[in-house]
Amino acid sequence: MAQIQGIDVSLGYEKRIVANNINFEINQGDYLYIVGENGSGKSTLMKCILGLEKAVGGSIKYGDGLRQKEIGYLPQQSNIQRDFPATVQEIVLSGCLNRLGWKPFFGKKEKEIAKEAMRKLEISDLAMRSYPELSGGQQQRVLLARALCATSKMLILDEPVTGLDPYAQEQLYAMIYKINKEEKITIIMVSHDMEAAKMYASHILHIGGEKCVFCTKQEFIKENGGCLF
């Protein structure tokens, strides 16, 4: 079975429907790009998958040993305050919380996982630095490392490269791609960057009003010539 299967999902808030009839299927190791205009409901779909919001219709099923709480998440613009006093290590470690169960404190195992995540994202030398003093790109990598701590199966990244300079964007894309390829961690990425989608994606889900398309990258390029709207 697929890790996540969405059947006729509709998204909305209160009475207002945002998007309809979304069908998709995500298997282990996939790299799914979710594209669509501003306000089309991409972040909302992510929140439904994570259980932060409820879909108004249809169903989202989890399979292949994936549980909802085992998904790593990098929020869009989170409401994290810029000046929150915390070190990189504290933040990354907090990603391991879902592994704790009823234990109150982190043990060796969690610290090792956090260390490993920091190594993968090349922020080991920042471990003791304070988060507000980092650059935007560094902060994004810290949050990605935190998300990585929370999962060994799937990462959901909501516009992770927004606000980064092209070089930092490339770097982050490369790291995510490496995580996807080397550890077989499924990636779901929301993005407006079609160039990157054509380069890295295995599947593409286009959300927008009436027409929601789910297909592989090859089909997508063949049909639209890679042009989105």
């Binding site: 994570l50 259980g51 932060l52 909802q68 709480k69 998904i71 998440y73 929020p75 989170s78 409401n79 994290i80 305050q81 000046d83 929150f84 006093p85 915390a86 070190t87 504290e90 933040i91 470690l93 907090s94 990603g95 919380l97 879902n98 704790l100 109150p104 404190f105 982190f106 304070s130 935190r146 998300a147 929370a150």
Partner: protein, 283 residues
């Protein structure tokens, strides 16, 4: 008589010792809680709640209950839960709601005290002043009050120690915490209850107008001099309790109001911390 002798003399009274124990414990709890409250940008909730507690106290006083806490505590907890439960989307409205609530409670409380002065006190102005700015009642605490205070403080401290990592996660990024299966809502409500308890407790020390100072100042001071969350929590707890201790001692020495003195010590320490932070090259 030297200052030292005077203190030795004072400290031989169990009432003074009680006051110091209770004062320091209250300050410790407020400053611990303050870390999440301030960092979550909820400082105004503490302020609003303290006014609500004042209103409830006023009502309780005019009914001449034997134990005012039986009214004040439940009311404050209820309001805290309502205020904290409202989600982020309605934050702007929530902001105004708190302002309305806190000023309203203040006005109603004052009015009630004037209309129905309690049987056991003829002095309205005195009552109002002591519940707003703290009274000397902390110097008359009996053994029972002290034990209640110690137990409640231990509960708050245990809450913090056992749930430390979860509190960090919820304070830093509630959405992420919720996505990884932490019951953010539950922690909100727990926090609300504990804030209410601490506020009602600290009314005895500094009065309702000054409570926010106990919650906010130690954290702000700590933030200037250290940078990890853990050290902010520890530093804030230390600063909070030391300031309370120093404040109580000074107020005994100068016979000044306890609440105001403790807050002033906090202000001075805050300024010192800003300077220290500047010298050692932090923002």
């Amino acid at each position: 008589m030297s200052v030292l002798e005077m203190y030795v003399n004072y400290l031989s009274h169990s009432l003074v010792r009680n006051a110091i124990i209770v004062g320091v414990l209250i300050a410790l709890c407020s400053s611990l809680l303050g870390t999440t409250i301030v960092l979550k940008r909820l400082s105004f909730i503490g302020d609003g709640l303290s006014h609500v507690a004042f209103g409830a106290l006023a009502v309780a006083m005019c009914f001449s209950f034997t134990n005012n806490m039986l009214i004040v505590l439940p009311v404050t907890i209820l309001v805290a839960i309502i205020l904290m439960g409202s989600n982020d989307k309605s934050k702007v409205k929530g902001d105004a709601a708190i302002a309305v609530l806190s000023v309203g409670a203040l006005a109603v409380g004052y009015l009630v005290l004037n209309l129905f002065p309690g049987k056991n006190s003829g002095n309205v102005a005195g009552d109002v002043c002591s519940s707003l700015f703290g009274s000397t009642s902390i110097l008359t605490l009996g053994g029972e009050d002290v034990w209640i205070c110690i137990v409640l403080s231990l509960v708050v401290i245990m809450f913090f120690v056992v749930l430390y990592h979860r509190i960090f996660a919820v304070t830093f990024d509630e959405n992420f915490a919720a996505a990884t299966g932490i019951k953010s809502k539950l922690y909100r409500y727990l926090l609300a209850i504990i804030i209410a308890v601490v506020i009602v407790l600290s009314m005895q020390l500094v009065g309702s107008l000054l409570i926010s100072a106990l919650i906010v100042f130690p954290v702000l001071s700590a933030e200037r001099i250290v940078r990890s969350f853990f050290s902010v929590v520890i530093a804030s707890a230390i600063i909070g309790s030391l300031c309370a201790f120093a404040g109580i001692m000074l107020s005994i020495l100068w016979s000044t109001p306890i609440g105001a003195t403790v807050v002033c010590v906090n202000i001075i320490v805050f300024i010192l911390c800003i300077l220290l932070g500047k010298i050692f090259g932090r923002k």
